[in-house]
């Protein structure tokens, strides 16, 4: 009876736990507009003030929000827009245009998208007709007709702003900023970018007024917490420091070391031979023949556990390493080039090799010895 009860208790507990896990996962994975802003309150206040001035007073503004990836730029602007739209007098008065440099890869597409989002008169259904030139002059005409007091303010949000700066002549940016600097329809141009060097661009420099910097990435933190969360089970109901450490290790694991762990002994031997060649020739590129000779020397003089493989077999192992991208040809492989003499480079660092060898399961002792010193067989 009691064991049964505890069993059902366990079940209920597990259910609760999975629910909690679900909620937390969702919070980590999705940007929720309900979450609080930390560390960017000043910037947030600044931004919201600026947006309000555009929306309520009809003053044109332009902002560039700069910060590394995952620093909360998009979250910041989303929060600000959400709060802005909650103000009653604003919500009906403001038009929003969202553009992304990764989607609108040239001005032609961007213009169509703007026209579509503004729902101007040349939009039929979801399509925008007319040539690029027509659309541009139409849009400019539309924006020009407005004035500060009577027309609806438009908020342009340009994600991946730096990509817009690569468009030919920067036509879109010039015109947007030109509108913001002349007595036309009030606009707020908000750029989001992770590139700091934008301020060197000609037309953008004029309007670079504010920038925000948030340190470190939130996204990596979320990933870390996700991994730790997955370890929470009914038997282990609370996250501990050890969990986090483990998750961190998982996150920061060297991906190449993992590949090395799965290699055969022959392949390990070849990598060690390459390492020695690198040491001897100071990072000069090598070819298969050199590696094979080095390997031969080792097998003939020292090795007890390593079988003297035939050359084609070694070649096969060598090619496998190339497929794994642990070694890389210096030049492109041509059909008639002799594969034995193609120059290669090793894409592993010495420390990586040594670390991997230490963890390599069942590594023969003589191979390990050979790895530490190329002259150990003498």
């Amino acid at each position: 009876m009691s064991s049964r009860k505890s069993k059902s208790n366990n079940l209920i507990q597990a259910e609760y736990l999975s629910q909690v896990q679900g909620i937390l996962r969702e919070r980590f994975c999705h940007q929720s507009p309900h979450s609080n802003l930390f560390g960017v309150q000043v910037q947030y206040k600044h931004l919201i003030e600026l947006l309000k001035r555009t929306a309520i007073h009809g003053e044109s503004n332009s902002v560039l929000i700069i910060g590394p990836r995952g620093s909360g730029k998009t979250m910041l602007i989303n929060h600000a827009l959400k709060e802005l739209m909650e103000v009653e007098e604003v919500s009906e008065n403001v038009l929003q245009v969202h553009l992304n440099g990764l989607l609108q890869i040239n001005d032609k597409i961007a213009l169509k998208e703007i026209t579509r989002q503004l729902n101007l008169e040349n939009v039929v259904g979801d399509k925008v007709f007319g040539s690029f030139a027509e659309n541009l002059s139409f849009l400019l005409e539309a924006l020009k007709k407005g004035d500060r007091t009577s027309s609806c303010p438009v908020i342009f949000i340009l994600d991946e702003f730096d990509l817009f700066a690569h468009h030919k002549n920067q036509t879109l940016l010039y015109n947007l900023f030109d509108i913001s600097q002349s007595a036309q329809t009030p606009v707020a141009v908000i750029g989001l970018t992770c590139r700091l060097s934008l301020s060197e661009d000609r037309s953008v420099r004029d309007v670079l007024q504010k920038h925000f910097n948030v340190s470190k990435s939130l996204r990596s933190l979320h990933t870390l917490l996700m991994l730790a969360l997955n370890r929470v089970t009914p038997s282990h109901p609370f996250m501990t420091a050890a969990d986090l450490m483990e998750a961190n290790q998982l996150c920061s694991m060297d991906s190449k070391a993992n590949i090395v762990h799965g290699l055969s002994v022959l392949e390990i031997c070849l990598i060690i031979a390459m390492k020695h060649l690198n040491d001897i020739y100071e990072e000069e590129p090598f070819n298969f023949q050199m590696v094979y000779n080095e390997f031969q020397k080792f097998v003939q003089r020292k090795a007890h556990s390593v079988y003297n493989f035939e050359k084609p077999v070694v070649m096969k192992a060598f090619e496998h390493l190339q497929q794994l991208e642990l070694i890389r040809p210096m030049e492109r492989t041509s059909v008639n080039a002799q594969r034995e003499y193609q120059l290669m480079k090793l894409l592993l660092d010495n420390t990586q090799i040594m670390n991997a060898l230490q963890k390599y399961p069942n590594c023969p002792t003589d191979v390990r010895q050979w790895a530490t010193s190329s002259l150990s067989w003498l």
Binding site: K45, H46, E49, L50, R53, I56, H57, G58, I66, P68, R69, E92, L95, D107, K108, L120, E121, N122, V124, F129, G130, A133, N135, L136, F138, E141, K145, G146, T149, S150, S151, C152, P153, N169, T171, Y174, N175, S180, Q181, A183, C194, R195, L196, S197, D206, V207, Q209, H211, N213, S215, K216, S252, M253, D254, A257, E325, D349, N350, T351, Q352
Partner: protein
């Protein structure tokens, strides 16, 4: 219609009577000429000194003139038989805005001696329709009732385009004398033409007759009212095209040389251009879209001026008004139905007799086009552009009818009747290239206007999918009014916004004056020219040009300078350099065309004589964007103003002073000329003055603060925009830092310093300071590696080993390769580092995008 066959056969033969009085090479004068109309016995004799009716645009109201000379001129291309006339003008031909000058209601039969020597009086003799009687009266005399028949006109006053004057005594005497002879002649004529009804020309009676003839289809015409062959008419049209009276005299002198070949070419070109409309057009006459495609010149000018006239006009009843003669204008469209038919050929000699008002010629063009409008589909195959004209005319007719209905009663709506007349003429005409583009343009323009004013009537308004062409560009208006600034700081911010351009630009008085003088002199001289304006951004180039134009527009309203048209294009607002032609054409005429076509039309407009009516001022902003490999755009822009008749003033703006030398070919920069103006960056005192002038009577800034920002910006760039932006940001900071929102204090030096700091501080240093520990140590490793190798570049592997070494030295756990790679690419995405594509893996090369000193400085700070 039933009477067409009879009309078709009607053919007039013009022949000289008697021997030539005077014989020169290509030139013989005659005293008399006879007109023989096929199928009718009596010939009409035309003698020098008689009054005649001359075919014009309006069949109801042909032009009235006195024959001065009859001669044969072999050098004329279309007709050798020429006549020189002294024009009379009907009241309805007087520009509407001048009609009130008469000060009384004119008699129906009253005409005016046209005392305007510049008017062309050399006409094609074959456009003469018949005799008419003209009686000279003293200004206070009452028109005698017994003479009041439809074939008699009365002259009391003369009209010289400016005012009505009593007839000069010598002319009065001359007219009286002539009258005698005329009567004599008339009598003999009547005797001759007993059997046939003499053509009746004016008044409602005639109209009624025509209406009858039109409505009873079986009834054939009693007397063909135009004893003119259609061919004659065509020729007339060919040789008549509008010109401005300012240029007329010079044109006349050069007439002979330009007469035939050049114009022929133009006409041919025109018919080529319009021909596509034939293909695209179904037979239905209701569609007006080809009208939009036809080339048009000077359309919008008149259109907008017409609006002005309307506003300025004292009598509000004139609804449809185009431009007025004194302002080089056209005429009302209601007049269209009333104007007399008359021929306007240009003459080389005897300028004293030149009397024909220019607008008659313009109207001619309009009329003839209008006449053709009612043609039925069967005509379509004949001439491609007739199709286009068709549509236009349809619109015009709508308008003409509705207008004349509500106008004075004596003007009857006769448009349809005259239409049906000319239609037959059209049918019997061999296809000749005969219209100058400007003729058409006038029609297009008026049709556009009519469509503007009576939109419900125009066939253009058929429902169709909305494309940019028909959509009105507009952002929807806001529901709630924008709030006005509540406190001093907000007010200051509003004034400091770059968009708030002041009424006059401080510190640019000299530039303003120079530019004003330049444009004004070009306007006054009726010439063209180029000016190149250079200066770094934010030095007030565009604003100064705008101010100059504004002042000139005011001056032209006050009649101090001739009216002009202002067009602005911006190189940055074009998708492609050649689009500039499209934009210019559209702003000039309101018409769309492809870039190539637009270039042709513009070249035609600016390079052919007499086509433009008033000066065009063209502002080309961001000129450097119009650079193409061939430089054809710049070449054209600078070449057009050099044409005498183009009357084009081009103002170009670019940032670099040496643009002409640097990127232009010699032949382009030479056309640009030497008129250069360079805007120097503002000095700190000028910037201070600008700020003070903007903040006039507004105590928001400390005086020191203004001086500080002015000096800071002047030291860096002298960009006024930047200066204003900093001040605006400072007001924000001030408001933000202030605790009491109601009464924020003044903007102090501290606030401004903060704003300046924000604006000019390097974002890189901030970014490095805020980066993570791993990122910072990676940067350190890069610096160490650079120092070790002595190069400014290293592979990732080298930096990594350096990184590991550093970590060992500091006793830190060193990161794995993958982590470090992530850090590296992160810094690369921020452009703190310049990295190769990551497929190179360990071998990718890393460079710093910031100076090493900056990195060191930023890392040391903590």
């Amino acid at each position: 219609m039933a009477y067409r066959p009879t009309r078709l056969r009607t053919r007039q033969t013009y022949s000289w009577v008697g021997k030539p009085l005077d014989r020169k090479l290509h030139y013989q004068t005659y005293k008399e000429m006879s007109v023989k109309i096929e199928g009718r016995l009596p010939e009409i004799d035309l003698q020098v000194g008689q009054f005649v009716l001359i075919e014009g645009d309006d069949d109801e109201n042909p032009y009235v003139a006195k024959l001065v000379e009859l001669f044969e001129d072999d050098s004329e291309p279309y007709s050798n038989k020429r006549a020189r006339v002294q024009w009379f003008i009907r009241f309805c031909e007087v520009p509407v805005c001048k009609q009130h000058l008469l000060g009384r209601k004119p008699d129906a039969q009253e005409i005016f001696w046209y005392d305007y020597p510049a008017c062309n009086s050399n006409i094609n003799a074959e456009t003469i329709i018949g005799h008419v009687q003209v009686v000279a009266l003293a200004p206070d005399e009452v028109i005698p009732m017994d003479l009041k028949n439809e074939k008699t006109f009365f002259v009391k006053l003369s009209w010289n385009d400016k005012k009505f004057k009593p007839l000069p005594p010598e002319i009065f005497a001359q007219l009286d004398k002539l009258q005698e002879g005329n009567r004599r002649c008339q009598k003999s004529m009547e005797a001759k033409t007993k059997s046939t009804e003499s053509p009746s020309w004016t008044t409602a009676e005639h109209v009624v007759k025509r209406i009858e003839s039109r409505h009873s289809t079986s009834k054939s015409r009693q007397a063909p009212s135009h004893p003119v062959t259609p061919r004659a008419r065509k020729r007339l049209e060919l040789s008549s095209f509008p010109r401005t009276h300012n240029t007329r005299i010079s044109q006349q002198t050069s007439w002979a040389s330009l007469e035939s070949p050049g114009r022929m070419k133009r006409k041919v070109a025109f018919s080529e251009i319009t021909s596509p409309s034939k293909r695209s057009q179904p037979d239905g006459p209701q569609n007006s879209s080809p009208a939009l495609k036809t080339p048009e010149k000077a359309g919008e000018i008149q259109q907008c001026c017409a609006e002005d006239d309307k506003k300025a006009s004292p009598d509000g009843c004139m609804i449809l008004r185009t431009r007025v003669l004194a302002l080089k204008t056209t005429e009302t469209s209601e007049e269209r139905t009333l104007t007399p038919v008359s021929g306007g050929q240009k003459s080389l000699v005897v300028p004293s007799v030149n009397l024909k008002p220019e607008y008659i010629k313009k109207r001619e063009a309009k009329e003839t086009v209008q006449d053709e409008a009612t043609s039925t589909p069967h005509r379509i195959r004949r001439k491609s552009f007739l199709l286009t004209l068709n549509r236009i005319r349809q619109q015009l007719r709508f308008l003409g009818n509705s207008k004349s209905d509500q106008e004075e009663e004596e003007f009857l709506p006769v448009a349809e009747i005259s239409d049906s007349d000319s239609e037959e003429q059209e049918a019997s005409t061999p296809p000749l290239p005969r219209r100058t583009p400007s003729n058409v343009s006038r029609n297009l323009q008026s049709s556009m206007k009519s469509s503007l004013q009576t939109p419900s009537k125009t066939p253009k308004k058929t429902p169709e999918p909305r494309t940019p062409r028909h959509a009105t560009p507009r952002i929807r208006s806001r529901n709630l009014a924008a709030q006005e600034p509540a406190n001093v700081l907000e007010e200051a911010r509003l004034r400091l916004h770059v968009s708030a351009v002041p009424a006059s630009l401080p510190c640019r008085e000299q530039e303003f004056q120079d530019m004003y003088n330049f444009v004004e002199s070009k306007l006054l001289d009726h010439t063209g020219g180029c000016m190149y304006i250079s200066g770094v951004p934010g030095t007030g180039k565009t604003a100064t040009v705008h101010e100059v134009i504004r002042c000139l527009q005011q001056a032209s309203q006050a009649n101090d300078v001739p009216p002009f048209q202002y067009i602005e294009v911006n190189g940055m607002k074009l998708t492609e350099p050649h689009q500039v032609y499209v934009q210019i054409l559209q702003k000039l005429t309101g018409h769309r065309a492809t870039a190539h076509h637009a270039a042709e039309l513009l070249a035609k407009r600016f390079c052919t004589r007499g086509s433009s009516q008033e000066t065009t001022v063209l502002l080309v902003d961001e000129l450097d964007l119009l650079w193409t490999q061939k430089q054809d755009i710049m070449y054209n822009l600078f070449d057009w103003p050099t044409h005498k008749e183009a009357r084009l003033v081009v103002l170009t703006i670019a940032n670099t002073m040496d643009l002409p030398e640097r990127i232009m070919m010699n032949r382009v920069s030479s056309r640009l000329g030497l008129t250069r103006m360079s805007f120097q960056p503002y000095t700190h005192s000028q910037l201070q003055q600008i700020l003070v002038s903007r903040l006039k009577h507004l105590k928001a800034f400390e005086d020191d603060a203004i001086q500080l920002v002015a000096r800071k910006v002047a030291a860096l760039s002298g960009d006024a925009r930047r200066c204003l932006d900093i001040c605006r940001r400072a007001t924000e900071i001030c408001e933000f830092s202030c605790q009491k929102p109601d009464s924020p204090g003044l903007v102090t030096t501290a606030h401004l310093l903060e704003a300046v700091e924000e604006m000019f501080s390097s974002s890189y240093i901030t970014a490095i300071k805020n980066s993570s520990v791993l990122e910072q140590s990676f940067l350190r490793a890069i610096l160490a590696e650079f120092r070790r190798s002595g190069l400014e570049e290293a592979t990732f592997q080298q930096v990594y080993s350096q990184h590991v070494a550093l970590c060992r030295m500091e006793g830190l756990p060193y990161p794995t390769m993958s982590e470090t790679m992530a850090v590296c690419s992160h810094l690369g995405s921020c452009r703190l580092l310049l990295v190769e594509p990551s497929r190179n893996d360990l071998l990718l090369r890393v460079r710093l995008n910031v100076s090493q000193d900056d990195v060191l400085y930023a890392l040391k700070e903590e």
